[in-house]
């Protein structure tokens, strides 16, 4: 589904991704781990099409298409979803309104009729109950005045509504208390399916107690330095990242 080969990318003068390769197939859950500044978020943003990041080398193919040629909104409509590390506030824009516009943009792209308000609200309320969110959130400004946990839940709600083929969650676990973490994990697990792939970008192994990955990759200085199964995450928990960094450079 997603085929990244030798990807190089930079923002301004600093090179962040330095030849990263990763292959993700349908139905798989990948965890990307690594120390601060290793390029985890950059990878997520490049796949989503953030224009501040210049791609200087390599290829990214998504379902056979050249992803790097596509505008961010096209990528989204083709089923790529990014759960942001820091979801931005958009005051004055109703949360439900944005969500409905997003759902309909995708439906239109797929040649489906737009969903009507009644159907949409019914579905949104159902999903919110699962995530333990108060339906009142629908009528507030997008992320406006939300707590950290509320913002992350809102990201998962959007993901649940958009039913992406490839979901990338960028540190969705950071700053969550245990209840919020469980709710978010439950939301993600509910989406697991043979048709869908999930990439979890995370700093800690904690999230992986709740969402069991098929593969774990360790990113360091813009490259994947080690890949393994969930046991790798446990090993990292114990030994930290330094031994890997040394192994990579040494």
């Amino acid at each position: 589904m997603l085929e990244i080969k030798d990807l190089k990318s930079r923002i301004g003068d600093s090179e962040i991704l330095r030849g990263l390769s990763l292959s993700v197939k349908k139905g798989e859950v990948h965890a990307i781990m690594g120390p601060n500044g290793s390029g985890k978020s950059t990878l997520a943003l490049v796949v989503a099409g953030h224009e501040d990041y210049e791609v200087t080398g390599g290829t990214v193919r998504y379902n056979g298409q050249d992803l790097l040629e596509m505008a961010p909104e096209e990528r989204a409509r083709e089923g790529i979803f990014l759960g942001f590390q820091y979801p931005v506030e958009i005051p004055g824009v109703n949360n439900a309104y944005l969500l409905k516009a997003a759902v309909n943009a995708k439906r239109k792209h797929q040649g489906l009729d737009e969903v009507d308000a009644f159907e949409f609200l019914k579905l949104a309320r159902e999903r919110m109950t699962v995530l333990g969110m108060d339906p009142k959130f629908l009528n507030r400004g997008v992320n406006e005045g939300f707590s950290g946990g509320e913002k992350k839940r809102n990201e998962v709600l959007q993901m649940a509504m958009l039913e992406p083929s490839l979901a990338i969650l960028d540190e969705t676990d950071s700053g969550l208390d245990i209840d919020a973490l469980k709710a978010v994990a439950e939301g993600v697990n509910a989406l697991r399916s043979p048709e869908r792939a999930i990439i979890l970008v995370t700093h800690y192994q904690r999230l992986l107690d709740y969402i069991e990955p098929d593969y774990v990759h360790v990113l360091s200085e813009g490259k994947i330095v080690r890949s393994g199964d969930k046991m790798l995450a446990l090993e990292l928990e114990e030994r930290g990242y330094d031994w890997l960094r040394e192994a990579a450079t040494g």
Binding site: E73, F81, V88, G92, V93, L98
Partner: protein, 482 residues
């Protein structure tokens, strides 16, 4: 039906008359302004002597006044002697003969705004035969109004048919010498609207200049007077969302509203004059004086405006809160894109007891535009218990535009409660990326954010107008990002 066909016949005949009897060329005055021009205008309109006298005094006062320079706008000096102060409607031969001859860009905009075909022709100034749809609508409209006793006609008609009302109220809210542009308007105004709502009458429909058939050629010095007698109620819509072209660059209109005891006037404007091209060339200068007088106790005047057009907008719809418990409101969205300059706001003058006012101003700047809010809240010594709430928000799109806020407060009574809130925000790249990552195009994202920003004002507009205003805003800001 009889009236309808009579009306059509009348229109058709009138055109006939113009084409064959009146010599159009001699119906215009040469450029320049002196007393003889003022006299000539008054004479052509067959005005009673009180009107001529009033115009002449205004002219003499105007001569002693100076053009104001305090606004945050820049434009080349206007030569008032280069303007022709009276011109008859353009003859049909001089106008575009069909939509094919009209600027395609303008037509594209009409399309985006969903303007009906027959309307496009009228707006673009195409020589068309009587627009039958509008005529029939307007006729039934007039019948209903006259049943209720409402007077709604052109200013010229009012001078002929209701001189006593005109004489009683004209210039009582905006005096002749109020300001430079108001004085000029008083001296040379060509036409405008007149509305009188009798005691206790709730006007059965929203009054709109759109339905006043002869609105098309009121020209650059327009004058509107609306009087709501005791206990009456009226909602008035001015303007049109479609872009209006006009060969006159300078517009100096005056609007006076009078609300007597327990009366209420709601005045909504959508202004979309030609803003000029991307470099601001050829746009309209819009210098308007609008003021409402809450003359009686418990009266209310509410201004709502959506300003998207003109190269320069200089406009401060205001309320004089003279009656006890009277209420003044001002809701405004002002958009300035490309090289547009807007200096707009309001004045709330609290004179009566327990008067209250609300100001909500939303300024949007994009391109290289400059948008200024200028507001005055004055509480006079006798105005016990006055209240004001002002909210003034600016939204910036891009890096080259500016937003400025000039709030003035003069509080001379210690019991007053006055609040002022101001915010400035920017449509950030992060917000746009967030929306795009959700599959929403950049343009839709900007529209969504802008409409969210203006929500409080749009909800004050009559329903259909609000929908149009929203579409208009989207068109005005097209291409503002990226």
């Amino acid at each position: 039906m009889a009236t309808e066909s009579e009306n059509i016949e009348h229109l058709v005949n009138r055109r006939y008359e113009h084409g064959f009897v009146t010599d159009i060329a001699t119906d215009s005055l040469p450029p320049g302004l002196d007393e003889s021009v003022v006299r000539a205008i008054s004479a052509r309109k067959n005005e009673p002597s009180f009107m001529l006298e009033w115009r002449l005094q205004a002219y003499r006062q105007w001569l002693e006044m100076r053009e104001p320079e305090w606004a945050h706008v820049h434009y080349p000096k206007i030569d008032y002697n280069e303007i022709s102060y009276f011109s008859a409607p353009k003859s049909d031969e001089d106008r575009p003969q069909s939509l094919d001859e009209v600027d395609p860009k303008l037509l594209e905009t009409y399309d985006k705004l969903g303007i009906p075909l027959h309307e496009r022709a009228r707006l673009a100034g195409v020589a068309v035969d009587a627009v039958f749809d509008s005529v029939s609508v307007a006729t039934t409209f007039k019948e209903k109004l006259s049943e209720a006793g409402v007077i709604f006609c052109s200013f010229s008609e009012a001078v002929q048919d209701h001189p006593e009302l005109v004489q009683k109220y004209l210039g009582t809210v905006v005096p002749r010498r109020d300001n430079f542009f108001a004085a000029l308007n008083a001296a040379v105004f060509s036409d405008g609207s007149f509305v009188y709502i009798p005691k206790g009458v709730r006007c059965p429909m929203e009054l709109s200049t759109y339905f006043r058939i002869n609105a098309a050629n009121t020209g650059q010095f327009e004058r509107t007077l609306i009087v709501a007698d005791e206990g009456s109620h009226v909602s008035y819509l001015e303007g049109c969302t479609a872009p209006m072209r006009d060969e006159n660059q300078l517009h100096a209109a005056v609007v006076e509203l009078v609300a007597l005891k327990d009366a209420e006037i709601k005045y909504s404007t959508v202004q979309n004059w030609y803003p000029g091209d991307e470099n601001g060339v050829g746009g309209i200068y819009n210098f308007v004086t609008k003021r409402g007088d809450c003359r009686g106790a418990n009266s209310k005047i509410s201004w709502t405006q959506v300003e998207t057009g003109s190269a320069i907008t200089w406009k401060y719809p205001s309320c004089l809160l003279r009656g006890d418990n009277s209420v003044g409101e001002f809701y405004s969205v002002a958009v300035a894109n490309n090289m547009q300059q807007a200096d707009t706001g309001t004045k709330m003058i609290h004179i009566g007891r327990n008067t209250s006012s609300t100001i909500v101003s939303k300024g949007i700047s994009a391109g290289r535009a400059e948008n200024a809010y200028r507001g005055l809240v004055r509480v006079m010594p006798q105005a016990h218990g006055a209240r004001n709430h002002t909210q003034c928000d600016s939204l910036l799109i891009g890096k080259q535009c500016g937003a400025h806020t000039f709030p003035y407060m003069e509080i001379k009574n210690p019991t007053a409660r006055v609040e002022h809130e101001a915010t400035t925000s920017k449509i950030s790249a992060d917000q746009l990326f967030y929306c795009r990552q959700r599959g929403i195009s950049e343009e839709d994202a900007v529209n969504m954010i802008v409409n969210g920003f203006c929500k409080e004002v749009f909800k004050e507009l009559p329903m259909e107008f609000a929908v149009e205003a929203q579409a208009l805003l989207n068109v005005s800001l097209e291409g503002a990002v990226g």
